[in-house]
């Protein structure tokens, strides 16, 4: 049990990354009730965009100079992919039956994976640059620069988003569109623009998560969006889909559930074979099912009763 602080910290780092991805699922769902299954790939293209910038810069550029440029490159790539996807894959299906955009999203997810896979270079994993400094010690907890990056990024992004949604004109338009798109139009709100902005914000968050993932694990892969996307989607549902704080909270709960189950389930008598890293995903979904049994709308979700 002496590793508990370390495990909690690891869960927090992982959860912050899930939360950043989950925001994209929740924003898009909150406004157009679309589960954007290609969002995991937006996360992936963000990481690859950042790596592409790094490769162009060459290895002798200081990482502290490279990092901001990588963030710009990753964010730009992911945003471009998300906006193009919205414009050409989802918008034409806006009034189609629900199943059509869902299948399109799955198709788009496979397409983007194969597209990135097709680029020349190592297929299985590509080396991602590391942040210098560390390991740092805080009591018994050890962490790396990349862990600080993900936590700071998650906190700053969430604060920014909270301010944006609550206090800006566009944020208000976004809330109105989420509550009642037709009436939002009658107020003069360009709901198409609002939807694009929701996709773009989700992509910015996903790209930051993608870069965090590269920095933490030292490598990225064309299929990294699949499992991470699935867990982040789970986090969004867990937190209450449509609610941005719920996405962050759900991410943290899920990250902790995975880390703690991998560390401790094996010590429960008779459970020793269910406690390895391989089982952590299973426990994440067990938590999801338990939460949804008692709170079908998710931890912070509201019942959608005022939607006609």
């Amino acid at each position: 049990m002496h590793e508990l602080p370390q495990n909690l910290a690891n869960g927090l780092f992982l959860g912050a990354m899930y939360g950043l991805i989950a925001v994209g699922y929740t924003m898009v769902y909150g406004i157009i009730q679309l589960i954007n299954f290609a969002h995991g790939e937006i996360f992936m293209t963000g990481a690859f965009g950042a790596l592409a910038v790094y490769s162009k810069l060459g290895a002798n550029v200081s990482i502290w100079l490279a990092l901001p440029l990588m963030i710009v490159g990753g964010v730009a790539t992911a945003t471009l992919v998300a906006v193009l996807a919205e414009r050409f894959a989802y918008r034409p299906l806006r009034n189609a039956p629900r199943l059509a955009p869902l299948i399109t999203a799955i198709g788009l997810s496979i397409f983007l994976q194969q597209l990135v896979w097709g680029f020349p270079g190592n297929k299985s994993a590509r080396v991602f640059p590391q942040l210098p400094g560390g390991p740092f010690h805080l009591g018994s907890v050890v962490f790396q620069s990349a862990d600080i990056f993900v936590v700071v990024a998650a906190v700053l992004s969430t604060l920014f988003l909270a301010y944006f949604v609550r206090s800006t004109r566009t944020g208000r338009a976004m809330q109105a569109t989420a509550q009642d798109p037709d009436t939002a139009k009658l107020m003069g709100i360009d709901t198409d623009k609002v939807i694009v902005i929701a996709f773009a914000i989700g992509a910015v968050f996903a790209a930051i998560a993608g870069i965090s993932s590269g920095l933490r694990y030292g490598q990225i892969e064309y299929n990294m969006g699949f499992l991470n996307g699935l867990f982040a989607f789970t986090a969004a549902v867990l937190g209450g889909i449509g609610n941005i704080y719920g996405a962050m909270l759900g991410g943290l709960v899920l990250g902790l559930a995975q880390t703690l189950s991998a560390a401790y389930i094996q010590y429960i008598p008779g459970m020793s074979q269910f406690g390895s890293q391989d089982w952590s995903g299973v426990w994440a979904f067990v938590i999801l099912i338990l939460v949804l049994m008692f709170r079908p709308q998710g931890l912070l979700g509201e019942r959608v009763a005022d939607r006609a």
Binding site: R172, K185, L186, M187, G188, I189, D190, E302, D306, A308
Partner: protein
């Protein structure tokens, strides 16, 4: 004098089903015009098409002489045509104040917006008292006041109201109807859709009776009020 709103041979379809089958009418500046008719006659469909939420299958809509059929809804409200939709459709999770602010979404004159908010609070004092409260907690009648106040916040030249008396007590309804007259006396032009034919016709300059997608009868409010077929069909007399 040209009409503020001119609807000509308007047709609207949901898929293959035609809900509005070629209707024409116009509204002069400063008039109250009412559309009455049974459930499913196509009244709301007509309003939703004029405000741009639906695209017509045929015909034209002119507002202030300009064609607006096919123009996006968010542009039309900026031209001075406000639509308070059926069922109130207030933003339930936002405060009363925020709902009114959204009504002024396209305006960039904070002082003017504030003045109009105060005007809405004078028109409907209850809204002022509860301005910070979530709109979803208001009663049906209060929500209707908010919906009207919100539509007025865009400073419209034409205000379209879809069943503002729906589900209201007689007193509340009286209040809404007298507000409509008050607005007209201040120079507002109003297109009023109502189930309550008696109330609507008594204050309208002109009325049109809609039946399954067509206008079956038109006349002044007083004419229709005294028309035998109208009395039979809509005023519950035999």
């Amino acid at each position: 004098m040209t009409a503020l709103l001119e609807v000509e041979d308007l047709r609207v379809a949901y898929g293959k089903i035609e809900a509005v089958k070629g209707i024409s009418f116009s509204i002069e500046q400063g008039q109250i015009v009412t559309l009455i008719g049974t459930n499913g006659a196509g009244k709301s469909t007509t309003l939703r098409t004029i405000s741009g939420l639906l695209k017509p299958a045929g015909g034209t809509v002119r507002f202030n002489g300009e064609r607006i059929d096919g123009t996006a809804a968010n542009k039309i409200v900026g031209m001075g045509l406000a639509h308070s939709p059926e069922g109130r459709r207030i933003f339930a999770r936002m405060s009363i104040e925020e709902n009114l602010q959204l009504g002024a979404f396209l305006r960039r004159d904070p002082a003017g917006i504030q003045a109009d908010m105060d005007r809405a609070y004078t028109l409907f004092p209850i809204l002022g008292e509860r301005r910070k409260q979530a709109a979803g907690t208001l009663s049906g009648g209060e929500q209707q006041m908010l919906a009207m106040g919100r539509a007025l916040m865009s400073q419209p030249k034409l205000l379209m109201l879809d069943e503002p008396s729906m589900g209201l007590s007689p007193i509340m309804m009286q209040k809404i109807m007298s507000t409509i007259v008050e607005l007209r006396d201040q120079g507002m032009t109003i297109l009023l859709v109502e189930q309550n034919a008696q109330a609507a016709l008594s204050l309208a300059d002109r009325g049109h009776v809609m039946e399954i997608g067509k206008i079956s009868l038109s006349g002044t409010g007083a004419d229709l009020l005294h028309d035998e077929s109208v009395r039979k069909a809509y005023l519950g007399e035999d």
